[in-house]
Subunit: 197 residues, 2 copies
């Protein structure tokens, strides 16, 4: 019987789920440990036992989401038939989140707020985004023809996030067409020459 072990896994999952929801709804500072535990049908003691602290729960959540994001990028790469299709797929993945999980956007901004305050958080984010940057660079060399050694990954990710932010506060401000055109422009523009196509 692995009943004990199963129970532990269920508790961990319930706490992660509750944490994701409440962090997104109220922010990391606004979501109390008690509230998270209660929503998971447990008490705060369980949370401290599994994650050590509220911050520990946050880190555990983020670790899961890195893998998700990189998986999405890899999947798009396999199915897209053209540059525009690939770009549109990435934009869709950001503008209305894919796996039915709209919470990560809120959590992402929590992280960025924190990054403005702490060097440790910045390093955490850099490590986190590195995989996405690299993945995009790799696909980009297949679709566009960038200058050798030029990195477009960071610019693409930055543009995706920035456009999503503008769209969130005003849905009409950034149309899908504008987003795709902008991303295409970024991928075909290079620092040292004019746009090619």
């Amino acid at each position: 019987m692995a009943t004990q072990e199963e129970r532990r896994a269920q508790t961990r999952e319930a706490l992660l789920e509750a944490g994701a929801t409440l962090f997104a709804e109220r922010g990391v500072a606004g979501a109390s440990v008690d509230a998270i535990a209660e929503r998971a049908g447990r008490t705060s003691g369980a949370l401290y036992d599994h994650f050590g602290s509220k911050e520990g729960l946050l880190f555990a959540l983020l670790a899961g989401w890195v893998d998700d994001a990189t998986a999405v990028i890899a999947a798009e790469q396999a199915t897209a038939a053209s540059l525009d299709e690939w770009v549109a797929a990435m934009w869709r993945a950001v503008s209305d989140p894919p796996s039915g999980d709209a919470r990560w956007i809120a959590l992402e901004h929590e992280l960025w707020s924190w990054a403005a305050q702490s060097e440790r958080a910045r390093r955490h984010l850099a490590r986190r985004y590195q995989a996405a940057w690299d993945g995009i660079d790799e696909v980009a060399t297949a679709w566009a023809d960038p200058v050798p050694g030029a990195r477009v990954g960071p610019a693409v990710v930055g543009v995706l996030m920035g456009l999503e932010m503008m769209r969130r506060i005003d849905p009409d401000a950034v149309t899908d067409a504008t987003a795709v055109a902008t991303l295409r422009a970024v991928l075909t523009a290079a620092p040292d020459r004019s746009p090619t196509r």
Copy 2:
């Protein structure tokens, strides 16, 4: 004698200054009213008298910064001699803040975190950015030749913010040249046609 009035103005200024610093350093949630008041050489009562609440102080800070940002854009418009120069000036204004005030970036992200949670905050942000969008649209029609009716303001602001975020977590990820090229591409790209120049 306006001594009474002067004293009040000094207190208000000191509270704004302390609030800007502490909000940026610790976040809005992490900066206590007492800490802000103490840093300003006053007590919490003074803060409540001037701004009503912690949120009131935050709004007062933001109102000041809107004016600053729009003033910067207007100033660039007057002095820039080419599209590239204008774009470079905007990027400089964001990537290393102009008026010696590096704190507004942190505050901006606090706002965005909040916007992920609250409809009220989103409306606040939309109103806040409207002026910047319009200002950029106006200058853009002079330098580039956009499709009639197409708005580039939101995309430009979004790209500025997104690139700044990537640069902050990795200074080598987005070079100045990349940023300028990206912004130029955004301004010359349009949803319904290929880049012109």
